[in-house]
């Protein structure tokens, strides 16, 4: 069972700059490797063929963009509550998440603001692993409901 109450709202007024999203971790075993190809339908050989990846100059296979987006998206939607909406998500792939690594995603609230009628929260997001450290820094903007909309 998940500890997350997906039916609960997260209101803009209850969020503060500096709030931490604890996120979650995942260890990249062979089952996870298969799931990343199945779930993303990314058939690029560098994500599942070790020989091809090494012949291409890589240390080995590494996890794909669809998986990375999925991990960071889950981080945001787990936190955003029932009516929260992810408006923007961007990230850079600076390091590889490879077989055997334990990967952690987490985030920090950096700003909250009103833009037109939208109550927005900006976040710095981070993916890191126990093999190479930070692999994927990024930013996101999430729109949240207001308790007493004007």
């Amino acid at each position: 069972m998940s500890a997350i109450n997906y039916a609960q709202e997260r209101y803009w007024e209850d969020v503060s700059v500096g709030d931490e999203l604890p996120g979650f971790s995942k260890t990249l075993n062979w089952t996870e490797m298969v799931l990343q190809v199945s779930g993303s339908q990314d058939w690029n050989l560098v994500h599942h063929d070790s020989d091809f990846a090494q012949e291409s100059g890589m240390p080995g296979i590494f996890y794909n963009t669809g998986w990375t987006t999925g991990m960071l998206g889950r981080l945001l939607t787990d936190w955003a509550g029932r009516s929260g909406w992810v408006e923007k998500l961007s990230f850079q792939m600076r390091g590889m998440n490879s077989a055997g690594a334990t990967v952690r995603v987490h985030a920090t609230v950096t700003d909250k603001r009103m833009e037109d009628d939208r109550a927005l929260v900006d976040l710095n997001i981070l993916m890191e692993n126990d093999q190479v450290g930070v692999t994927t820094p990024g930013k996101a903007t999430v729109r949240l409901p207001r308790k007493n909309p004007a």
Binding site: D42, N44, G57, T65, G73, V86, K88, L89
Partner: protein, 194 residues
């Protein structure tokens, strides 16, 4: 297929390709429950907004939506990526990693991604995309001094022709160490070709 960097005319490539509409792909299937489930299970996402039709029907979107983290390219094109004969998909429209842009290398790594999610994408929607080349430039990497970076901009439309998402992506195209080593062989054997 690779080419020697001395034969590569980046200015001509930029002139020809930047701004070019590369793909107007249309989804082979409507948005479906099961690919969403597979995406969620890939990352351990148990959110009923994406997985449970009954609970999602009572939510703010009135039904299951595609998670923002699921690349809508899956539903706006032929499914698996890159296009490959093994999947019975058309490799002509996107020409694998380089989107058809000629490059010295033939190996691709995705480097940077920026998404804007404008409207919910619901089960049953039909999607199409328009993909354009936004930039092409050379930036050496340790693996390949002639690596080419290709920036694309893609807009996703639903069946009402509403833009539901925008995607800016930066792909790095490089050569294998063996291919890079072949530069030196050519230089030793005869230098730059006329």
């Amino acid at each position: 297929m690779t080419m020697h960097p001395d034969d590569y005319d980046l200015d001509a490539i930029k002139e020809e390709w930047i701004g070019k509409l590369i793909s107007e792909a249309r989804g082979r299937y409507p948005v479906e429950f099961d690919p969403i489930r597979r995406h969620c299970h890939m990352v351990g996402d148990l959110n009923p907004a994406f997985l449970d039709p009954e609970i999602a029907a009572q939510g703010p979107h009135g039904g299951v939506i595609v998670p923002p983290s699921m690349l809508p390219t899956y539903f706006a094109a032929d499914g698996p990526w890159p296009p490959t004969a093994a999947a019975g998909t058309d490799a002509e429209t996107t020409a694998v990693f380089s989107f058809g842009v000629p490059t010295p290398g033939d190996r691709g790594i995705n480097m940077e991604v920026a998404w804007e999610y404008l409207e919910p994408i619901r089960v049953g929607d039909t999607l199409r995309l328009e993909l354009r080349i936004a930039d092409v430039f050379n930036k050496p990497i340790s693996l390949d001094p002639s690596a080419i970076w290709i920036v694309t901009e893609t807009a996703f439309f639903n069946q009402h022709d509403t833009v539901v998402a925008r995607w800016r992506n930066t792909m790095l195209i490089h050569r294998s160490p063996e291919q890079v080593a072949s530069d030196a062989q050519r230089n030793v054997s005869g230098g730059k070709q006329p």
